[in-house]
Symmetry: C2
Subunit: 344 residues, 2 copies
DNA sequence: AGTGCAGTCCAAAACGTTTTGGGCCTCTGC
DNA sequence: GCAGAGGCCCAAAACGTTTTGGACTGCACT
């Protein structure tokens, strides 16, 4: 049962392939009766245009690409992208892509081995555009794509002024708010567990943290800053160390929720009751945070809708349509839960 | 900077496109000197064969498809695939796909709206093959793909004898083991929170549960069986109800880890200490389970390596190569953690 | 001098569409 | 009776490869 082509439909109906094509595409210069004949025949024969051929002719891949970032390899050579933030993000990309009849190509890569993937997709014109995530302070991907003039939408952005379109969550102001929240609760020794140093958002969040401290009249103490790697394990290790220092910090802010969840675990293991003995907060608003025990105070960034909006912008770029807002900055929403508010 | 084609390279070198093509593909009937000239020219000009054209000619999509299953829509129209099992699974698919120079097309869909996606990809020959997951007891996808003779590898299988290749985890024996584990610890009232009734694995796991009860000499009580939906929320609601019945079950087995994690939360909210007042166990071995409080007893199924193996089988199918084992059954590994072993 | 044979190269076909640029009717209005 | 205008349809080109089936050299061997 080899695939049925447009030619098969045409010869069966004694029509030209042109007419069949145009009938199915809804052009006005085909008689209503003919169109009906074509449509039923196509349905009966199970005809659907070959995507490859269509792409070839229209020079469109009808696909967008997304490389899922993963920070570290797990033992045994396996790599998981354990951060549920990206699950939600991908769900958004997928939904919006299908809405536009685009396909979504994904790949999973660490920062070291991502380059071949971008090159393969770009050079071979495998995709019409990219969605970029976890932007670094200096990011070769932006330059590479600009040079090959392939459209893309960044989630976050590099340092300095950039001209490309992006959607960003104002994590600086978010972290400042979070520090204010903790300071209002009486905390003075507020620690911060950061992430990979080359990430743009790492700089933003740290600076938001410092701004928040300043506003609250708390001196910055670099011994209260530890490095994680955006994973639960990284947060766990960093928190384990921070919580065993004297004097012990009374509050911990993780750069993202995974880090904070790791910190909660560390606190539990040390016999501290989170919310009462130590306050812990994160950033992202993943589902697991809401269901953790205790539920995690966090700054929600709407991954799903950011993803959808990114695809919308990307589609406009691809089609050369004007975009209302090329550079969007969203405010995260602080949700205070039991992990900072003490026992319920 | 429009993309450079093979013709550009050919005219620059005064060669035919045939020779350029064959030179780059490593055919033996091209002089070493010529090949060198072609290679440097191609590199200089930044030539890479157009994937679309190559696909067109070879009638290969060089891509495989995977539809991420999602059970329910979240409020606000958003759908997340919250189950980290699939994150790991996708990581495996992606890694193995790139190893074979294949692209991975993904989409996110509930059971109701998955059909158009399969049809689009199959009819338009958008992919060379599929990986299927969460097989239903009767699954139209298998029949659809067989009919359109598109290769696929199933993760799990339908009821009855099937001829297609699959990789399955023996969840029946797994659940039987799990009941034995709990019975050994002295539990007699062991409840089960199931999943969607049309899933093959639902039947398997329930039957494993019953087999385990029988072996332990415990009578099956259908009031101890509740229905979830494979999500944390589903597990939460089901557990909430089960744990408020009298007499209260002393142990809860969730059909998957997400269900069990929801159950843990329910127990916590009811003031029960998991591990001491009630034992809770799951199935999957996701990372979140290991990091939950208390850490979750579970049956580990190696999502990452199952995914990789699935792709390997699929590649063999696509290329018409023989496969050593077409139908693989793996044994899950029981890991007992604090959620059933009581306080550490 | 003819035959055979590697060693190189190439023209043309094919893959299945969409799009361009008409062509042929029939009907209308003079 | 004829120009003009729609209405409907189509042939052919193009998209950028890979593959098929030679073609053209020299060179060695009869």
């Amino acid at each position: 049962m080899s695939p049925v082509t447009i030619r098969d439909v045409a010869t069966r109906l004694n029509l030209s392939i042109t007419t069949v094509s145009r009938a199915l595409d809804g052009y006005p210069d085909v008689a209503a009766a003919t169109r009906a004949r074509v449509e039923t025949a196509a349905r009966e024969m199970g005809y659907a245009p070959s995507h490859m051929a269509r792409q070839m002719r229209r020079q469109r891949a009808d696909a967008i690409g997304f490389v899922i970032p993963v920070t570290r390899k797990l033992e045994g050579g396996s790599r998981a992208f354990a951060d549920p933030y990206f699950s939600e993000f991908i769900a958004g990309l997928g939904d919006e892509a299908t809405r536009h009849k685009l396909d979504l190509l994904v790949s999973v890569a660490t920062e070291e081995d991502e380059q071949p993937i971008y090159e393969r997709w770009a050079r071979g014109r495998r995709v019409d555009g990219f969605v970029l995530n976890r932007m670094r302070a200096h990011d070769w991907r932006a330059r590479f794509l600009l040079r090959n003039d392939l459209p893309f939408v960044a989630n976050g952005r590099e340092v300095g002024a950039v001209t490309y379109p992006f959607i960003e969550v104002d994590s600086r102001s978010g972290f400042s708010q979070m520090v204010a929240h903790l300071a209002d609760l009486g905390h003075r020794r507020i620690a911060y567990i950061g992430g990979l140093p080359n990430l743009r958002s790492q700089a933003d969040r740290l600076s938001g943290y410092r701004a928040g401290l300043k506003k609250a009249g708390i001196a910055f103490d670099k011994r209260l800053v530890a490095a994680g790697d955006l994973t639960r394990q990284g947060g766990y290790l960093a928190a384990l160390e921070l919580l065993q220092r004297a004097p012990r910090p009374t509050a911990l802010i993780g750069m993202n929720d995974m880090t904070a969840l790791g910190a909660i675990r560390a606190a539990n293991e040390l016999g501290l009751q989170v919310g009462r003995d130590v306050a812990i907060a994160g950033f992202d608003g993943i589902d697991d945070g809401a269901h953790a025990s205790p539920p995690l105070t966090t700054l929600i960034q709407p991954a799903y809708s950011i993803a959808r909006q990114s695809v919308q912008m990307l589609v406009a770029l691809i089609n050369g349509n004007p975009i209302a807002e090329r550079q969007i900055v969203l405010q995260p929403e602080l949700v205070a839960r039991a992990s900072t508010l003490g026992p319920a």
